[in-house]
């Protein structure tokens, strides 16, 4: 299990590097899918198969499909660009500094913790997840349901036919 954890973690890291270094948007998205599946495997290795399966169903199976969908629609011609403006220091200096701080925090945390900690824990089944969600965290579940309902209403408002907002934007752009 430990081996599976480290291997899938490695795959996740490598795939994520592939996301940010790839020049073709669709390849980047495919790398992101691989990364998400690797993260799901990490969940499996940690003994949380329910979370792992949901990760694949929701993120890899639904959300990333929409990403691929949009990339397919938008980037038919401007697929590979020769110039790489992001190599210029002023584009990556800020994010790298922030990431360096985070790395420092991680290393400090690892340095003070005990090294011989192994990955183990009880198996998190669907039943225990459900009991936790609808027991002590019922309020949070209800709140996120309300949030999703609001998003649904907004989406159906924005997407409806003869939408004044949409038509105004369309008129303004062209």
């Amino acid at each position: 299990m430990e081996l599976a954890f480290y291997l899938s973690g490695l795959v996740a890291v490598l795939a994520t590097i592939g996301v940010i270094t790839g020049t073709s948007p669709i390849h980047a998205v495919v790398y992101l899918i691989v990364s998400l599946i690797a993260v799901a495997l990490v969940f499996f290795a940690l003994g949380a198969p329910f979370a792992g399966a949901l990760e694949i169903i929701v993120y890899a199976g639904a959300i990333m499909v929409l990403f691929v969908f949009v990339v397919m629609m938008l980037n038919l011609r401007s697929d590979t660009r020769g110039d790489q403006p992001w190599l210029h220091p002023r584009h990556w200096l800020g994010p790298s500094l922030l990431a360096l701080v985070l790395l420092g925090a991680l290393v400090a945390l690892l340095a003070q913790g005990s090294v011989d900690r192994v990955i183990e824990g009880e198996l998190l089944t669907a039943r225990s997840v459900a009991l936790t969600l609808f027991g002590p965290w019922l309020m949070v579940v209800e709140l996120s349901a309300i949030l999703l309902l609001a998003a649904l209403v907004t989406a159906s408002h924005v997407g409806r036919r003869n939408n004044p907002v949409q038509n105004r934007n369309r008129g303004g752009n062209q």
Binding site: I26, A53, I56, I57, G61, A62, M72
Partner: protein, 327 residues
């Protein structure tokens, strides 16, 4: 010989089972291509392929030889890595789903306690085969087919998951063996009829079988997402479709029709008979129904099936709480 322990024997037996089920699924998928053509011929009042061998039984061999020896051509304008990996995803994701299906009390590859979720995850991955294959082909018909397929599959997968939740609630488990065991007395198709109906529709749509095969409609898209594929790559898409059909039939039997349960006959026969019945149903649907318009398909999914599954789930939950409030 002290290495021959019961554990080794159990491992080898499990591996043997997995191999048999894997090969069985692939072979059955291949055989189904010919069976379907013969049955379509029968139902549409014409001869099917009846020349090769007695009653056309060797047609499969002829098809295999042809498909193996064709040139495996990748178009120069295609995106090579994605073009190659798309049929692999199509085939592997469906084959992997077979590991959760319990065929008889003794046969079955894995006993996952998230069994049903594993199937849904694999069905989610399966979308990428069509999507990436269509995009990587660099062909507008393939791209249009892929766009249709992804929109359709995404819409139908939403309520496919929901339609199964009634069964999960009744059985109290995602594990398919538990679900089959819970159907000892009566099959879940009776309390979960709407779940069954919507799952059947979603299953046909997700495998792009006939009434829902707009992604590969010949008249409009010249075969849709796999128009640029040839040889074994096309073969993998093609056999993958039949493996998907087999998978959905086996799942319907397991989830709604009691799996291997049945009087008199041994479990393996009951499972085969029930699965065969649904395979025939799939082929009969293709033989008899016209293809609906694409926007009708989407409307039907979102406006009829999705509310139906939600109401079904609500009613199932209410009944379970009424019958056994403290369970």
């Amino acid at each position: 010989m002290n290495w021959w322990t019961p554990e080794i024997a159990a491992v080898l037996w499990a591996m043997f089972q997995a191999l048999v089920i894997l090969l069985g699924a692939v072979l059955l998928g291949a055989v189904l291509t010919v069976v379907e053509r013969r049955l379509l011929g029968l139902w549409q009042d014409r001869y099917g392929p009846n020349r090769v061998g007695p009653f056309g039984t060797l047609q499969l061999v002829a098809d295999m030889i042809k498909i193996f020896f064709k040139e495996d051509w990748i178009p120069p304008f295609a995106d090579r890595p994605l073009f190659v990996i798309a049929p692999v995803i199509a085939f592997a994701s469906l084959l992997l789903s077979f590991i959760i299906i319990p065929i008889t009390p003794g046969w079955g590859v894995a006993d996952l306690h998230i069994g049903l979720l594993f199937f849904l995850a694999m069905a989610g991955i399966n979308v990428y085969a069509v999507l990436l294959g269509g995009w990587a082909s660099g062909n507008k018909y393939a791209l249009l087919g892929a766009l249709r397929a992804s929109a359709q599959t995404l819409s139908y997968e939403v309520f496919m998951g929901l339609s199964l939740m009634g069964v999960v609630a009744l059985a109290g488990s995602f594990n398919l063996r538990d679900i089959v065991a819970a159907q000892e007395g009566f099959w879940f198709v009776i309390p979960q009829f709407f779940g069954f109906a919507t799952f059947l529709i979603a299953g046909i749509a997700v495998t792009h079988r006939h009434p829902f095969d707009q992604p590969e409609a010949e008249q409009e898209l010249a075969d849709g997402y796999h128009v640029e594929y040839s040889s074994m790559k096309f073969g993998m898409f093609f056999i993958g479709e039949y493996v998907g059909m087999l998978l959905v039939s086996a799942l319907i039997v397991t989830l709604f029709f009691g799996g291997w349960h049945g009087p008199l006959l041994p479990p393996i026969l009951w499972f085969a008979i029930k699965t065969g019945f649904f395979l025939m149903l799939f082929i009969l649907l293709r033989a008899s129904l016209p293809r609906p318009r694409y926007d009708r398909v989407m409307n039907f999914g979102w406006k009829i099936c999705l509310p139906l599954t939600l109401i079904n789930l609500l009613a199932t939950g209410a009944v379970i709480l009424l019958v056994a409030p403290d369970a």
